[in-house]
């Protein structure tokens, strides 16, 4: 089947097998390998991307289901060479070790912060439930998200 998608702002048209998972489409067809596979059963969250702005586990969707959608992967997170505040937060607060779970967590948290610009620790931990990290014990991930939230709130105030 033929699908048309916009990924990180660029348009793609591809012929795909109906059974091809979206995550394999991104990794194997588009060579966007920032999106990872940790489980292929929608549990670990390593494959999380944005589908029409909503964080989605891309191992849970077929590529054909994404036809006509706008997708953002971790590769599309930085704008004009500037790190997204979340990316900066992860670096500043040591929110990653091996980095394998990180892209999925970033993409989940981007969406989360849109709806919870000033989250409590509890809310962040709750929102992270769909992502497994074996390295960090989550503590510094929580702090990274807090860092980003603070920074984003401040930036919003700036134009006023």
């Amino acid at each position: 089947m033929q699908i048309q998608v916009k990924v990180n702002g660029a348009d793609y048209t591809h012929e795909v097998e109906p059974r091809l998972l979206l995550v394999h489409f991104l990794r194997d067809v588009l060579h966007l390998t920032g999106t990872h596979i940790g489980c292929d059963t929608s549990i670990c969250g390593a494959c999380t991307i944005l589908v029409n702005g909503k964080s989605t586990k891309s191992c849970t969707m077929f590529a054909v289901q994404a036809d006509g959608c706008e997708l953002t992967t971790v590769e599309g997170l930085s704008q004009n060479g500037e790190l997204h505040p979340l990316q900066e937060g992860f670096k500043e607060m040591h929110g990653l070790q091996c980095g394998f779970c990180t892209p999925g967590i970033l993409m989940n948290m981007v969406n989360f912060l849109e709806h919870h610009p000033n989250p409590s620790e509890e809310e962040i931990r709750h929102a992270l439930k769909g992502n497994l990290c074996r390295c960090t014990g989550y503590q510094n991930i929580v702090k990274s998200v807090q860092y980003a939230a603070t920074k984003m709130l401040k930036n919003e105030e700036v134009p006023a």
Binding site: D28, C44, V74, Q97, F100, H126, L132, G137, Y138
Partner: protein, 795 residues
């Protein structure tokens, strides 16, 4: 010039992060080679079954299939070797049955590889693998180590009687310990299971092997923790190809925790097959495949007895452990229950008589090997559970009981190291220090008060202690050799100063989340007085450096970092000669500080960069001075390093359901000197999470047919963000006296200390409510805790 000396001990942000947070990390599965093919394995669904036949005809004809190999095709190839030899008590060497690349005779655990299909795409390989027909005849199964040695148990390997790989003993003679225990005022006995754990790095194992016919060279990309050792084992013991024809690369690796140390059958098989089909072959495990085939950890069944005199002093310790090694010997499997477990049973205590007896056993389960901490968590669990239980039984304070038994402080310089009853000599320690610090952070007195009040109000609060020691910096070749390692375990560090003064450092260790690129650069920057930006750390490629032993057992900085320091010393020494030549002074009069060579007592100096350039574009060099500024060193320390610490858990147990809530976790760790506090803290956090996981959530569950019934993230419970509190971590610093950096290692501390602290806290909570529970089997699920309360209701 700005000073870079202060860079040690600073939380420098990690240089490796940029590629990971932008999706530019390069993990093995990200690599696609020209003419790439894909492999899929046919694995036994039975834990024990004779293979009567393998029919590949239909599969072979399926779309995209290039080649299928079965056990018969690789029968002439050696199996993967074991790197550690343990002898039976009677001197016989351990039983070491062949671990074939694909089994031909019988499958010995669920997941044992019977055939491999290689096809044009991942999907085609998978489709065809499902159409390979294997005719199995099921055989009786044994999964429990203590059962497996009993007469009449099914045999995993026909050549291994009683399934016994070896029996082993360490410490004081049994009679002496028996005598000591017979005369004691109190004996605490604990029979327990240290359950089997599944490491679960989030990146599944992945390999990509290729062959170039013109150069006759193989390349293997592998998600490994030690590329050089994989190359050595594969070349020398399995495939018999010369090492210079093999390049092994461990690119970015998504966590290991031990499970990626070992040489796996798939690595050798794909490398061998890539030549046969003359195309690159990639295989990446799916999660369930990882559960079934990554080496597991722990899995001990133990009886331990500790005797105390009337003052609470420990007088003796007697241990009998059955260690489950799984179906085959993994690379380091035999050394975990013995040399990494038995030797740690002195703990932090002055116990005068210790005897440990270990029987290692084959069963129809996945091979068992090192998992974060490896052996030390099992030893610590045993000791710290005994101490806490003894305190409850003798109605003593658990902190006080420990204080009465600690080895007194010693620095290893003015006072000698501490010789244990079980073969080790501790380097330096201040064990009471970490406990006092922990008690202070906890607010111990207030806690006990609060606990009493809570118990009266029907709320069960508990505190659990664990004061641990571990042996890290796995290296001393002489010691390792004496303990059965089939290779010495030094490390290599190569420092190449480039003509412009930039520095490339090659290390034989391997980073897979530990931040080596940052920590090592800090060490180099501080020693050479140059900015970190001018330094590049290279690891994980056997073509880039001569040799290395990889990363595990918290050895990277203590051993690998020390090797780098050794090379830097050589660089400085030669730099002085070059500088002296430039300044027409004597090399003996040269000083090096903060990136500058200076003639003592003068202001005549030349910069590091100038010396570098002179080294490569020499003019009228004196005859005894060679051009170049490039040194490699091999560092082999004289002893292990011995980090230690005190972990304290506070839990609340819900009376009605048995659910445990971890309220606080305090970790005071002494890992020697610290180069990057932020990275060390991160290591502790991750370690604690894994240790808490063992205490409360995780564990492999085999049924009596040998089926791993929780082989997915849906069924195997790993800690998630909302299961854990913010950890309260801090450090004490007792430098290691025998390496130039004074470091001890931090990677495993969290895992080792935390498990017993949490279990002790739960048991303490139950005692506070009148439930005199001796033990609850890990993981402490609500059901198990609830049952324990029911059976001790009127206790």
């Amino acid at each position: 010039m700005s000073t870079t000396n202060g860079i040690i001990g600073k939380s420098v942000k990690r240089v490796e992060d940029k590629r990971f947070i932008t999706g530019k990390g390069r993990y093995t599965d990200d690599i696609v080679l020209p003419l790439q093919t894909y492999a899929s394995f046919v694995r036994s669904p039975y834990a024990h079954a004779k293979i009567l036949g393998v029919d590949t005809e239909i599969a072979q004809a399926m779309p995209g299939v290039i080649k299928i190999y079965t056990g018969a095709d690789v029968a002439d190839i050696n199996g993967v070797p074991c790197g550690w030899q343990v002898n039976f008590k009677n001197g016989d060497t351990m039983k070491e049955p062949k671990h074939a690349l694909l089994v031909a005779d019988k499958a010995r655990y669920v997941g044992d590889a019977v055939a491999v299909v290689i096809a044009e795409t991942r999907e085609q390989a998978k489709d065809a693998a499902q159409m390979v027909v294997v005719d199995y005849e099921e055989l009786p199964v044994v999964v429990d180590a203590a059962e497996a040695v009993k007469a009449g148990a099914p045999l995993v390997h026909d050549s291994v009687p009683n399934n016994m790989c070896y029996d082993w003993e360490l410490g004081n003679p049994k009679e002496e310990v028996n005598e000591a225990l017979a005369a004691t005022a109190h004996i605490t006995t604990l029979e327990f299971v240290n359950q089997r754990m599944i490491p679960n790095a989030i990146e599944p194992r992945s390999y990509n092997a290729s062959y170039d016919a013109t150069s006759e060279k193989y390349t293997l990309y592998t998600s490994t923790q030690n590329p050089h050792v994989i190359r050595l084992l594969m070349c020398a013991f399995v495939l018999g190809i010369p090492e210079h024809k093999v390049r092994v690369v461990g690119p970015d690796v998504g966590g290991g925790f031990g499970s990626k140390i070992f040489h796996y059958t798939e690595e050798a098989l794909l490398t061998w097959a890539s030549k046969n089909i003359n195309r690159p072959i990639k295989w990446t495990a799916e999660r369930t495949e990882s559960f079934l085939t990554d080496a597991h950890g722990r899995d001990h069944v133990t009886k331990a007895e500790m005797g105390f005199d009337t003052t609470g002093k420990i007088v003796g310790l007697r241990i009998k452990t059955f260690a489950n090694l799984g179906a085959y010997l993994s690379t380091f499997g035999p050394c975990i229950p013995t040399y990494l477990h038995g030797t740690l049973l002195q703990g932090l205590y002055t116990t005068p008589k210790i005897n440990v007896d270990v029987t290692a056993v084959f069963t129809n389960t996945t091979p068992v090997d090192a998992y974060r901490g490896a052996g030390r968590p099992e030893a610590t669990y045993l000791l710290e559970r005994l101490l806490d239980l003894a305190a409850h039984e003798m109605e003593m304070d658990p902190a006080e009981l420990r204080l009465r038994n600690f080895i007194p402080p010693f620095d290893g310089v003015n006072q000698p190291g501490y010789q244990t009853q079980v073969a080790l000599q501790y380097d330096s320690g201040n064990y009471e220090g970490v406990l006092y610090k922990g008690l202070e952070i906890l607010g111990y007195k207030e806690f006990r008060q609060k606990q009493q009040e809570s118990a009266q109000n029907g709320k069960l609060l508990g505190v659990g202690f664990s004061t641990y020691i571990e042996a890290c910096g796995l290296a001393p070749s002489a010691v390792a050799g004496a303990l059965g390692a089939r290779a010495g375990l030094y490390e290599m560090g190569h420092v190449r100063v480039q003509p412009t003064g930039k520095v490339t450092v090659f290390t034989g260790t391997h980073g897979h989340g530990q931040g080596h690129e940052t920590t090592f650069a800090q060490v180099v920057a501080s020693r050479l007085g140059i900015p970190m930006e001018d330094i590049e750390i290279v690891h994980g490629d056997t073509d880039a450096m001569a040799f290395g032993m990889g990363t595990y057992g918290s050895r990277s900085l203590a051993v690998g970092g020390s090797a780098i320091v050794k090379s830097i010393d050589k660089i400085i020494e030669k730099g002085k000669k070059i500088a002296a030549h430039r300044l027409e002074a004597s090399a003996d009069d040269m000083e090096f500080e903060e990136g500058k060579f200076t003639v003592k007592g003068t202001d005549k100096s030349v910069s590091f960069g100038d010396v570098a350039l002179t080294a490569y574009v020499p003019h009228v060099y004196p005859p005894d001075l060679e051009p170049g500024l490039d040194f490699s060193s091999f560092y082999d320390p004289t002893n292990f390093t011995y980090p230690f610490g005190c972990h304290i858990a506070v839990v609340e147990v819900e009376k009605e359901t048995g659910k445990v809530k971890l309220q606080r976790f305090i970790a005071v760790d002494d890992v020697g000197n610290i180069v990057n506090p932020m990275i060390v803290e991160g290591q502790i956090h991750g370690g604690v999470a894994q240790g808490v996981g063992q205490a409360l959530y995780e564990g492999a569950e085999y049924d009596s047919n040998g089926q791993l019934t929780n082989a997915s993230y849906m069924d195997y419970c790993m800690p998630r963000a909302d299961d854990l509190p913010m950890f309260e971590t801090t450090n004490q610093i007792t430098p290691c006296p025998h390496n130039p950096l004074g470091v001890k290692g931090a990677g495993e501390a969290g895992t080792i200390g935390s498990t017993p602290a949490v279990v002790n806290a739960v048991i303490d909570a139950l005692w506070s409510g009148g439930h005199k529970v001796k033990d609850i089997r890990m993981p402490l699920t609500p059901e198990r805790v609830w049952r324990a309360m029911q059976t001790t209701k009127n206790g």
